[in-house]
Symmetry: C2
């Protein structure tokens, strides 16, 4: 065999190996490291029937926070952008809103004034834009908005700003018998509109902040469910494990979060028996996404607070901190 032939065989072999390795890697957007290894180990241990930490298929529950964990939430939650945009539509139907606060401030577009809106103001805006219509009308309003609204930095639909590494984790878990759930502080009905298309997660697996609906009849006698300005459960902080119990009735084996709003969900998940894994996404990549914290000295922000205290609790309890900068080769599918 000539040298050139030998080299050709070796090179082909290496290429084939690399291709196989890539095809076999369920998490190709993840760099090799502690975070990726922890996820792969968790799946191996919990799906191996001979392992004492084996989890029967029906108990395999995975919970994902959304904003800041599976898609961009900085500098403003997508749903809040929706509600603000929706105020303009409402003002066309009801011109009297133009001179009424807090609608007037939102319509002014004055960012400084908008940033000063109180929680009470926000509640009024949420109630006005997220209730009063049938569930079908709401679905179609959100759908229409998502088709045209664009994120100001990437100039893309918000639904494209999902983190590719997290989509890979969801698929990997599902391929191993896990039921994937979104457990979000966002509105349950809002997230349901796009979750099947964006995450492959059906509406019955979305746990979010729950608003009441009211059963009644339309003019033609057809039954309708109308969205009410009444909160049944605020699915944030302690509300997350409460929402998980309400909607799922089982403790997750693995949970992903990124802020203090996820603390109780990660505690609750981690405190179960057998193999449990709690993970936190750290936004430390100002170049490819954002860097905010203030864990590890990152700049503070109103949105998705990853405090140093949360970081310390993670270290103490063995939760995995995912560095977007170091653990993710790629952040978005469009990169």
């Amino acid at each position: 065999m000539k040298h050139r032939t030998v080299w050709a065989v070796v090179v082909c072999g290496l290429v084939a190996c690399a291709a196989v390795a890539h095809a076999d890697d369920p998490l190709p957007s993840w760099s090799d490291g502690a975070a990726k290894q922890a996820i792969v180990d968790f799946v191996k241990v919990t799906t191996d029937a001979s392992n004492p930490k084996f989890v029967p298929p029906e108990a395999r529950i995975a919970a994902f926070d959304q904003d800041g964990t599976t898609w961009v939430s900085h500098p403003m939650y997508t749903q809040v952008v929706y509600c603000f945009d929706r105020v303009a539509v409402l003002a066309k139907e009801k011109p009297e809103l133009r001179n009424r606060e807090p609608f007037k401030t939102v319509l002014s577009g004055n960012r400084e004034a908008i940033a000063k809106l109180t929680m009470k103001d926000l509640e009024i805006i949420l109630a006005a834009t997220l209730s009063g219509m049938t569930v079908e009308q709401f679905r179609s309003e959100v759908k229409g908005w998502l088709e045209t609204a664009r994120d100001p930095r990437w100039k893309r639909p918000f639904t494209e700003l999902v983190y590719q590494p997290m989509l890979e984790v969801m698929k990997y878990l599902r391929a191993n018998g896990y039921k994937t759930y979104i457990v979000t502080g966002g509105g349950q009905d809002f997230v349901r509109v796009y979750a099947e298309q964006v995450y492959g997660i059906p509406p019955e697996q979305i746990v979010g902040t729950m608003g009441g609906t009211k059963y009644g009849y339309a003019k033609d006698g057809q039954p309708v469910l109308t969205k009410e300005p009444k909160m049944l459960l605020n699915d944030d902080n302690a509300g997350k494990p409460e929402g998980i119990h309400l909607m799922i009735g089982r403790r997750p084996y693995i949970a992903f979060g990124n802020s203090t709003g996820d603390r109780q969900m990660l505690e609750y998940t981690g405190a179960g028996d057998g193999a449990r894994l709690s993970l936190l996404v750290l936004h430390d990549d100002a170049q490819r996404e954002y860097a905010y914290g203030p864990a590890q000295g990152l700049p503070n922000t109103k949105v998705g607070t990853f405090t140093q205290a949360l970081y310390d609790e993670a270290k103490e309890k063995g939760w995995v901190v995912i560095s977007m900068k170091n653990d993710w080769k790629r952040i978005f599918a469009f990169e």
Copy 2:
């Protein structure tokens, strides 16, 4: 060929045919008739990709009321029996309850006095017996009770008093890609304790009356969810479609009920587009189970009211009325 041989072949052929027919019949406890045919036709139409009424697998949702629809609820709901029995246990821990109403009446065992308890009395009893403990404690209390409690008529565990024909429908629907849900006025956490074993339905597919829980920490620092005496949603009457929207986020294609408490769920199901089927179980078999109504002149009762008005609405809207007497060959698996 001799006559005897011919007969033997014919008889063997008939026996073989009968055996095959039985093996192929997904609903062997159902008599041939309109009700059985409606269910079989519904499944055929909605799972045939070439049929305009085909339903994609992810949208196949089936809803079953429980009390009186999938198991015996007469003369008293099983969960109420549980709460009454539980009062005796509570009174041992807190002797002061012995002289306090409505506990005193329940403890007296005086049926006439118990029957006169008001809705307010019942609420006090439910709050005292269904809240204040962790969700794990509650689960273990209900489990323990179910193991020893017996129905007074059949002298069997309550979990054996499920209707065999309904178990067959559940299996048949699941074999055809339907997700089966219990949608009950009973407590969500109560039904979850036994639903997987009794119906093959996991906790996340139980929609029931929802009580709040409170996240906190035990003395050892472990996170716990404690059941609160706070109702988030009364999953009965109009609460049923509201609960379906909250927990599932999709309209069912098929729904089973037996009383006015199911009316709105059946209306909501029936009003969807494409093939939808609403069905009502009529308790008209005093010999094998019970006969109560007052639809079709059956005796009135406090439990699971099937009124004549509901019967008329069923006829008008094309809902299927299932006669226990005529449509079911067998009621219980133990028969």
